[in-house]
């Protein structure tokens, strides 16, 4: 197999959070991402699934250095991004782009769609003539399913799905090799979701893009990803091929997640045995000392409360972090 496009090693993002009163306040570390490692091949889609507050969005931003990682390496084609200066990093951004969850909020409401899409061009190709930039913008608008004569309109004149297409066009215009998709369809209507998912797949195949697809929706992630990483409280619980993860989940959290997804099929939905987890996500400021999932785990033992499990390969390309998984 060829070399990975991106290698993330032991990535940690900790935020200092002030706790306590005005006088006795002190800082505690909020471990949003705590020791995550993965490789991403060219043309591959890695799905990152987890519930809100598990650090999956922070992880995506740390990979792009939009949030400075506290520790760890983000190796892009053999070069550690975390060590680059601001200027060098800015030049690298041509290769890696991001798509956001809220399609309208990620577009500056005061400038036209044409200017929004052309913005990366202006920064990376300042010598490009405006006519050339315009023709490239219009060509791309066509490719993402927007009518090119909308180029002078403003974001608020578009629907959510169209805004997401604009966001995708902005990310695509500099022909990046990696796009981090942060919940790109969760704010969209059902009938629009499928359109955007198809568009992303289509663009990926056409341009050999690598995608990091962050979502809380397991169905969407399964549909679009090649490999899926399940994250809980800043740590990786399980990584596996999409089908293996669904058919043979090894981690109790993955099992619970899969069983909790409501299926649009009344008979199956009513027949299935749901693993209902008790309680809520523990506060990331006070994570459990052992396995972070221990407080809600149906198969926990005393070992889990004291010793954090290690992410280990259980079968070919199937890793899980659990003391008790087969």
């Amino acid at each position: 197999m060829n070399a990975p496009l991106l290698s993330v090693r032991d990535l940690k993002v900790h935020f200092p959070i002030r706790v306590g009163g005005v006088l006795q306040g002190r800082y505690k570390q909020l471990k949003a991402v705590d020791g995550v490692s993965f490789d991403l091949m060219p043309g591959e889609t890695l799905g990152i699934v987890g519930e809100s507050g598990c650090g999956k969005s922070t992880m995506g931003r740390a990979v792009l250095q939009l949030i400075k990682p506290t520790q760890g390496q983000v190796i892009w084609l053999g070069q550690d991004l975390a060590k680059l200066g601001a200027k060098q990093m800015r030049a690298k951004r041509q290769d890696m782009q991001i798509i956001f969850q809220d399609p309208l909020a990620c577009l500056n409401p005061r400038i036209t769609v044409g200017d929004i899409i052309a913005e990366p061009l202006r920064t990376f190709h300042p010598d490009m003539t405006s006519a050339e930039a315009k023709s490239r913008v219009q060509k791309l608008m066509q490719q993402v399913g927007l009518h090119p004569n909308m180029i002078n309109r403003y974001p608020h004149e578009f629907s959510g799905g169209q805004c997401q297409r604009i966001g995708i066009a902005r990310a695509m215009i500099v022909e990046p090799r990696l796009i981090v998709c942060d919940e790109p369809v969760s704010a969209l209507d059902v009938s629009i979701q499928a359109q955007i998912i198809n568009l992303l797949r289509d663009l990926q195949q056409r341009f050999q893009l690598s995608l990091i697809f962050i979502s809380h929706d397991l169905s969407v992630v399964r549909h679009i990803s090649h490999r899926i990483m399940v994250v809980y409280l800043g740590k990786v619980m399980e990584v596996a091929d999409r089908d293996a993860l669904y058919t043979h989940p090894r981690h109790p959290y993955t099992k619970a997640l899969i069983s909790a997804v409501p299926l649009p099929d009344p008979d199956q939905e009513r027949a299935k045995q749901r693993i209902v987890l008790s309680g809520d996500l523990p506060s990331p400021l006070n994570p459990p000392p052992g396995c972070v999932f221990a407080s809600r785990c149906p198969i926990r033992t005393e070992l889990c409360a004291t010793t954090p499990p290690v992410l280990e390969e259980r079968s070919t390309d199937h890793h899980a972090a659990c003391h008790h998984s087969e």
Binding site: L66, L107, R110, G145, H147, N149, M150, N152, Y154, E157
Partner: protein, 378 residues
């Protein structure tokens, strides 16, 4: 059959012009009657203040000694009944008595008699009074004891009356408006430039820089304003530039706080993150993405700041710390009016009305702008 592209192609061929948020806000503002009325009033007062003093027949500093504190009137001065008195005053020293007086329109024919021969130079003492021109002796009695003069009366209109020095109040009110509005607009502009730059920088950089910059603002805030102004006056003497400095130095603080707050909230919006991800430089992010999005509240605050500054100027002038004679402003005029409120109420009423109208108009426009720029809040 029917696919999405077919439907989207039904959109007419040419590029569609979008409606920007500003255009939307403009349309909403235009449909707001109070705001439009306010804008019209402002335009009228502004134009009148700008051109009024030039068109007025009276100079700002021109003193009509015969018309001290005359009430506002639409008829011209001097009135027919007052002409004898005026002439009497003018001829007081000449020891001549008026025997006949005939007023015909602007033409006055006057016959004088005296015990001694009347010096023909008497015309000059009449002319010295600015109300009479073209004084000619048309007939002199052979003994020289009687003399008939003809002269033209200059009629002047004092629509707003005159002040304690006999100056036309209309001209002065308009001229005062010029100064007041100028101070209002200039000081606001100064505070806008300083405040937006300072606030956007502090808010965008954030962290320790933000803390230091905002503490400086807090320190400046804590300086008592009057004390500050009086100190400036003592050190540099009174002049109008100092007014700008004093007012601008205080008012940009609010602006900086508003812009900083806006910047902080906009900084967290996703499109700023998107710009970072696109490799846009920091200055370009501030210029292209942050400042245009803070302008809404800034514009609203500006329309409310202008009247505030005008009021501040009036307050300083009222206390005698502001604009000095022969310059004037609404504050100065109101101050004088207040001193003469019993015998010459018009001296207070007219400038105060102008000031109040302007303040109202600015506030209506400001409210309209706020509604127009932020329709969600309604």
């Amino acid at each position: 059959m029917t696919t999405v592209s077919q439907f989207e192609q039904t959109v007419p061929g040419g590029e569609i012009k979008g409606r920007s948020l500003w255009a939307d806000a403009w349309a909403r503002l235009r449909s707001n009657r109070a705001a439009v009325a306010g804008a019209i009033v402002l335009a009228i007062i502004g134009l009148a203040s700008l051109f009024g003093p030039m068109l007025s027949p009276h100079d700002v500093g021109q003193v009509y000694r015969s018309y001290i504190k005359v009430p506002a009137s639409t008829t011209a001065y001097p009135r027919e009944a007052e002409i004898p008195d005026l002439l009497k005053t003018a001829l007081r020293r000449s020891r001549a008595d008026i025997t006949s007086l005939d007023v015909d329109g602007d033409l006055v024919t006057l016959t004088l008699t005296a015990e001694r021969e009347i010096d023909p130079r008497i015309t000059r003492s009449v002319e010295r009074n600015a109300d009479f021109t073209n004084v000619q002796i048309i007939e002199t009695s052979p003994d020289g004891l009687s003399l008939t003069m003809q002269m033209e009366v200059t009629r002047s209109y004092f629509l707003f009356g005159t002040d304690a020095n006999g100056r036309d109040l209309l001209t002065r009110t308009l001229f005062g408006g010029r100064i007041s509005l100028m101070i209002g607009l200039l000081a606001t502009f100064v505070s806008l430039i300083i405040g937006v730059t300072y606030g956007a920088t502090a808010g965008f950089i954030g962290g320790r820089v933000d803390s230091v910059m905002m503490r400086i603002v807090d320190v400046l805030y804590s300086i008592p304003f009057m004390f500050f102004v009086i100190l400036l006056m003592v050190f540099f003497g009174r002049n109008i530039i100092l007014m700008f400095v004093a007012v601008g130095a205080v008012e940009w603080l609010d602006m900086a706080r508003i812009v900083r707050g806006q910047t902080l909230s906009i900084k967290r919006r996703e499109f700023i993150e998107a710009a970072h991800a696109c490799g846009v430089s920091t200055t370009a992010i501030i210029r292209r993405h942050i400042v245009p999005n803070t302008l809404g509240p800034v514009v609203v605050y500006m329309t409310l700041l202008v009247p505030k500054v005008i009021l501040l100027e009036s307050f300083l002038s009222f206390l005698g710390l502001g604009v000095q004679e022969p310059m004037t402003s609404w504050g100065v005029l109101i101050s004088e009016g207040a001193n003469n409120i019993v015998e010459a109420p018009w001296m207070l009423i007219f400038p105060a009305t102008f000031l109040a109208l302007t303040l109202f108009a600015f506030n209506f426009v400001g409210d309209g702008l706020r509604d127009a720029l932020d329709p969600k809040d309604r």
